[in-house]
Symmetry: D2
Subunit: 306 residues, 4 copies
């Protein structure tokens, strides 16, 4: 298996340079286009890796399924579903999903920014500091890694430049889709969550917890009920790869989530969790070489669920 991973990285290495570093926040332009790593956690407990699988990067949008999971654990499916829809929007992740003049919860989902910001308000906690801490704790538990922390420089950078997200937050408030009064606090929680620092290994462990629908890789202890796993995986399969989710379904065929930090977390239900890292992005904001590795891995191991 490790051999296969090495082989795939070699085959896909040429793609690393064809992507572009995210530039919407200054901090992300410091990435290294040469980085390429993959990590696999299998259901039999075995783990395999190749390349820069322990290189750290910010989780960015891959925190969205974790925010959704925490919201589900705190509120149950019915409440979460009533607040934010589950249909693909057909638009970029940061789109203003208005139907002309009306903003309907059915027109957003937890994998676009608006939906993820709404998730932050549903997570339990006295303060947004506490809410964020619970998200960080859940991330550590899912990844079986208590050392996961926040990249403060990225967080500051997000905060400074996040005006589009601020607009989205105020729109959610204006249309009564969130109850919170303090939009700045909500966004602070969101920016912090996006700045959590992980490795391909961490993502593979998180992916494993979703693949097993709730069990931690190392301890086999149940972290969340299996129905929440199915809920999250279904949304990842239909909306996880931004507006490139359809192509990803055809070519890879796995629930997955990408982040503009260059990471991808993929879930092969009942079989394995996969973590990838390569910071060069395609035009939709997905790790270009990362998708290529997944495409080949899925073909060689017949991982497609379709």
């Amino acid at each position: 298996m490790e051999e296969l991973l090495e082989e795939l990285l070699e085959e896909c290495r040429p793609y690393t340079k064809m992507g572009k570093l995210a530039d919407y926040i200054p901090e992300l332009t410091k990435g290294n286009l040469d980085d390429l790593g993959v990590f696999v956690v299998r259901s039999d407990g075995k783990r395999y890796s190749a390349g820069d699988s322990r290189k750290k990067f910010t989780i960015q949008s891959i925190v969205k399924p974790i925010l959704l999971l925490q919201a589900l654990m705190d509120n149950g499916i019915e409440t979460v579903r009533s607040r934010v829809g589950v249909e693909a929007t057909g638009k970029p992740f940061d789109a203003i999903n208005m139907t002309d003049q009306s903003l309907l919860s059915e027109n957003i989902n937890p994998m676009v920014n608006m939906g993820a910001i709404a998730m932050c308000t549903l997570i339990h906690g006295e303060t947004y500091e506490e809410k964020f801490q619970r998200v960080l704790d859940l991330t550590r538990t899912l990844a079986c890694n208590p050392d996961i922390d926040v990249d403060e420089a990225v967080y500051e950078s997000e905060k400074r430049t996040g005006n589009k997200n601020r607009a989205l937050g105020f729109l959610l408030k204006a249309y009564n889709m969130i109850d919170e009064e303090n939009i700045d606090a909500v966004l602070d929680c969101y920016f912090r969550a996006c700045s959590i620092r992980v490795t391909s290994e961490d993502l593979a462990f998180i992916g494993y917890a979703l693949a097993s629908r709730g069990k931690a890789a190392l301890t086999n202890e149940r972290i969340f009920p299996s129905k929440y796993g199915t809920y999250v995986n279904a949304i990842l399969a239909t909306c996880g790869m931004y507006d490139g989710s359809g192509d990803f379904a055809i070519k890879v065929g796995l629930p997955a989530k990408s982040g503009v930090g260059g990471g991808i977390m993929a879930v092969a239900p009942t079989r394995m969790g996969i973590g990838l890292f390569s910071p060069g992005l395609d035009e939709k904001g997905n790790s270009l070489a990362g998708i290529k590795v997944l495409e080949k891995l899925s073909q060689r191991m017949y991982l497609s669920i379709y």
Copy 2:
């Protein structure tokens, strides 16, 4: 198994009357809200049914994956993919998927009307009569039923009232997304294909062919390469149930396609094909009781792929 199906029909019968008959063409309003049928074809060759599983109805949008399949068989993945995108549109099936003033192939998919009309032009055949005949033949082969025919009254009704579809056809032409000059002929082929008459049993057989990624249920002969099956199933999972595909993914978790005639074809990859019929539709145009039956069947038999 048959017992389980009977049980599910009883549990879901109350939902049949909560749906509404399609009224966009006069002929469809003649349906009977009481009808409810289910048919299952398993990979071990066993077949099970309950209720009105042999009642005939028009295939409507469930012909879309068959049009896609025929287009794939005639042109290969690359050509088909280059002509019509694969992302969910976040909009109803008959939407005008324009980005403001531009119409891009990436903004449509083979499961919305625009994409399905485009598929008709890609299918080989000297004339549209011949193209249609090939679609009908493929339908018969997939369903292992040479007696499948066209409901002429529905076809005439579609033809008379299909102005929105005509508009979509001329838009495709205006934006150079189809080569055909004779839009009326294309639409005639499309209206005819939507008027093919099937039963839940037929749909289950068609679903089986997709579940087995290309093999006919009765003969086990290969009808199409497995890669086309994966392509179709992936698109069904992300766009098959109109703009209710996300909810369906969460609740049922299977590639599926519904039609406003009241049918649903569902695919449990490697496991079974399922056909349903109940003409009462929910507001998105999906068979209301049909989805309920699938929801329960999926839960009881752990069919979700997520």
Copy 3:
């Protein structure tokens, strides 16, 4: 006055080459970018011209106010207003003015293609041949020129390539905004009307009839009630220059209508009618040099109504 016109043409001649010939129908690409003409009909009966003021070109969208006028004369303000709105759409003339999935009469106006096509159905006449003949007759009466005819080559060209307009026609029908069953006949009337051949002189006379709110320039006979003149002029002022109407209001300040054939008809209420011709278009489809001439003429003669 004639001197002033000559002077303005000289000043604006450099702009003729900065525009582009319309290329959406092959026939229009045969125009000559050097052409530049202006014609003025004053309320005191005096007429002035300069440049290619007798060069013929197709009226194109400048027929829209004439279609509106004929519809008003045949049905009255109330009926016409109830069928087609009067607000600027903020979009190009051939836009699909849908609010998401619904098409409302309030979202179109008689100066965009959809509204103009709807006007054709409101004009009285047993057949569309007869309706068109009445439009042609009105055009001749307004222009005091019985020799105005149709450019058959342009008409054939429009007909062959008018798929976007066909789509708009079928949408109008699909949304019950027009009663007519025979969309092809409606479009034939519309294409023919757009192909009427005029000169700057003709346009100045038509503009005069609107400036005088109903009186013919040569005979001083009333052609239409003054309230229809106000109705048409108001719509020209707010929607006449495509989505460049706001800039035109600021710079010129007159009700006006342009056509992609290169013509502009401008109305200085109570003062004069102005006709212009220069086939080089700006990116919004308005005659580039034509607008420049109007801009300077308006400034020198204090024509702005604002």
Copy 4:
């Protein structure tokens, strides 16, 4: 003249109760539907009034032409035009005027909220407090009334509930359409400007200054260059009455601006300024009875510019 005004008020009084008080901020619901007033300032210096012409109300959107005027006086036409477009948007005043994912200055105008917020950033002043003070001073000068002040209760109410406007402000910033970093300060200035308290009399004086293209009614002193008057009047004519500007052009035919406080300021170029007040609004947010009075006044006195 005074008699005519009295007569018109009586004729239009039944309409006062058919409108609805603005309810988007709590403070505005305290208005009295019975209020109805009109004030006219003629170019010969004569003034006429009827009804509640000295009742105070908040200026709301009628401050938009004043913000535009101040921005023009501080920056000139070229700069202002380059920052904010002049085309009608075809959408409500508080719409998010995005073309899909992009926000272009050409898609907004100074009469919609986004454009008016942008104007605030262009007005000169060290602080937003100072900028606002200059707007208030200009308002007083135009109205020849040094006692005009701010309704603090309305201002507080706007501030508390203005999340949609906050969203618009952050979007302007996110798309680099304004330079200001401190969005809260910009909005504070905007909310304060909307809360300026005026009477029908004040509006008539302001309207007069625009009708005379720059001269104060009482002193005949020039307040601003005439070209700015033409600029503002042209925009009022095409975009002043929200997405009811087209109907207003047809029925009244004057540049005008309405506010949800119930006021309307109308401009009859070279002839008169008109102020109206009646707090019952139609569905587009325009004073219902106010428009009726203007309609009749325009007809009786042949005020339409078209």
